[in-house]
Symmetry: C2
């Protein structure tokens, strides 16, 4: 999104304050608004521009359509030393997942390992934001969620009953950036297809197929087809597993009972997520693990490249350097995003209109 | 492999006895030989014909080259209630992973969840064999391993320092078959490329690229290129994460220190694996979970199909029915596999020559 027109750059604190004030104006508590603001800007810092402040107008629509519980009681409804099931009470997804991730980290700090599932939540932004939270405690993170809309069919099927169901992992390193993966199980996102349609461009073979299994390359015909999973039947299988572990296991939506959060603003999403946290010192000292991670990272980065390639990147490395850059220099927002936020600010009569 | 010529079919018990007697003749204890036989035939039952008895002649070569410790002490070297690090003492991989998986199941039965890592192991056959072991206790299984040979380059790289690093999940269901995924993170296996070369066939675009990033479709040129990961950079990232969680975390081989177990028969592999087991009743009753799984499975299976598609399969469903069929009717082995086993039987002077 940030590639269109000349971006304006905003300091992190200003965006956080803007989001928090908008969400308070919409009725959230100051505490919940602050949590959402932090998590959303963390997505922007990583460069996941589609999952940060860009979503605020949409979240605002859902809140005004009574799609979100503004006074939720997020609570643990089943629990032992190493697992928990959290009911999000239809709170903002960021609030539910922050609660769940902090709980997983607390349990893993005490026991070495924890798996926390959530149901009755909502879209929580970028998966890497949550899988990365355990890193500061020298823990590994794993995160999965059921996407809030179905744009994929089962392998061999034509009904849109599967989403982009993403999976994310974060592994700490020493002086090197942590290794952080955050991938949808589809080859691309539906957002990228819509963007190509807006620009009048065609999409590559391998992104979508039509109902006869033929490649679909005209994004204007996207409603006639569906996104393809990574690796064909392999990505389909991984997608279904994620749906079962983040959705079915927690009593969250998966399959036909997923609500398309763009089409139906007021319906309860019952979005399901899972987060795992595990201490690396279960297996070896933190110091030796980090040394080995650094060695392994450098081995990959410094291995021989294709002639046309300047650098081999580890998963999450580009996002890491972008985060450092944006923390220092601010977050660039595309003119269309700024305009949409300014519109929201005017509607909500916020002090900061992002002028 | 089983697709060439007319297969002969053997009862499960006969193949197990054959493998066990061969491994005892090669110097394994009766107990370890029996474990390997069971795990190998389980792969054959599922139809993972490349990871079962087919491998016995190769394992035999490794044993005779002193590549395997025949009197190992597989032991837990770090441990708490929910995690363990197992040193395989260079035992047969099946022995190490059976020990590790049983340990994970025991810990998960007591605590709800467990993650066991192994190092100093060897090739253990099919991943689904281990991820599926927790199913009988109404547990979810997750398994990862670092492959025993590098046929992939980092994304943008040309050096073969990554393997097919597979990941496997198993989720219990009720009256429906469990959902079991077992996928390499490469689009295809190096074995399939070699098979196409033998047959004089070309391979599809998307399986391999050459050192300039161009599609490689002549399998006879396979040494000039490398396997592609599923979903491009996404599969590369998942591959690296698996290497770090199954390899680096456990002190197992990953990257340049992976031994190609086909080329170097005598070298210690230091193969790393991980297995997670988790009780589903951490989150809801076993009964309600299984009901929801069955409902979700049927929803996917019964969703609308492409005109040319007879049935939508869930992950692991084909393998489940094949297992039932082979348990009843025996395991078909291709003539070349039978011949190679007969050769081994003659060398080892086994009572059963598979005549």
């Amino acid at each position: 999104m940030a590639s269109e027109g000349t971006a304006r750059t905003f300091p992190v604190r200003r965006l956080e304050a803007f989001i928090a004030s908008a969400l308070v104006a919409l009725g959230l508590t100051e505490q919940d608004a602050a949590i959402c603001a932090t998590r959303m800007v963390e997505a922007d810092l990583r460069g996941v521009d589609t999952h940060g402040i860009f979503r605020l107008p949409h979240y605002s629509q859902r809140i005004r359509a009574n799609g979100i519980n503004l006074r939720p009681t997020v609570r643990t409804i089943r629990e032992n030393a190493v697992t928990a099931l959290v009911d999000g009470d239809n709170a903002m997804g960021h609030v539910v997942m922050t609660y769940a991730t902090q709980l997983a980290i607390k349990k893993a700090a005490e026991s070495g390992l924890a798996w926390v599932g959530t149901r009755n939540g909502n879209h929580a932004g970028a998966g890497a934001v949550y899988s990365s939270m355990p890193l500061a405690q020298d823990m590994i993170g794993m995160y999965m969620t059921v996407a809030n809309g179905n744009h994929m069919a089962p392998w061999g099927g034509v009904e849109l009953i599967l989403g982009t169901n993403p999976i994310s992992f974060a592994v700490p390193a020493g002086t090197e950036p942590p290794v952080v993966l955050d991938i949808a199980t589809t080859v691309t996102s539906y957002g990228k297809v819509k963007l190509a349609a807006q620009k009048g461009e065609s999409i590559p073979v391998g992104w979508m197929i039509d109902r006869h299994g033929q490649p679909l390359t005209d994004p204007k015909r996207s409603s006639e087809g569906f996104l393809l999973p990574i690796g064909g039947y392999k990505g389909y299988g991984l997608n279904v597993i994620i749906g079962m572990l983040a959705g079915v296991l927690n009593g969250g939506a998966f399959g036909r009972n997923v609500v398309d959060f763009n089409k139906d603003l007021g319906a309860r999403n019952n979005s399901g997520h899972m987060i795992l946290a595990m201490r690396v010192d279960n297996f070896q000292s933190v110091e030796s693990f980090k040394q080995e991670m650094d060695r392994s990272i450098r081995e990959i980065r410094e291995s021989k490249r294709m002639e046309t390639v300047d650098r081999i990147w580890l998963p999450g490395e580009i996002e890491y350097y972008r985060m450092r850059d944006r923390l220092e220099h601010g977050v660039p927002l595309a003119p269309a995003v700024v305009a949409s936020l300014q519109g929201l600010a005017a509607e909500l009569k916020l002090a900061d209109r992002l002028d």
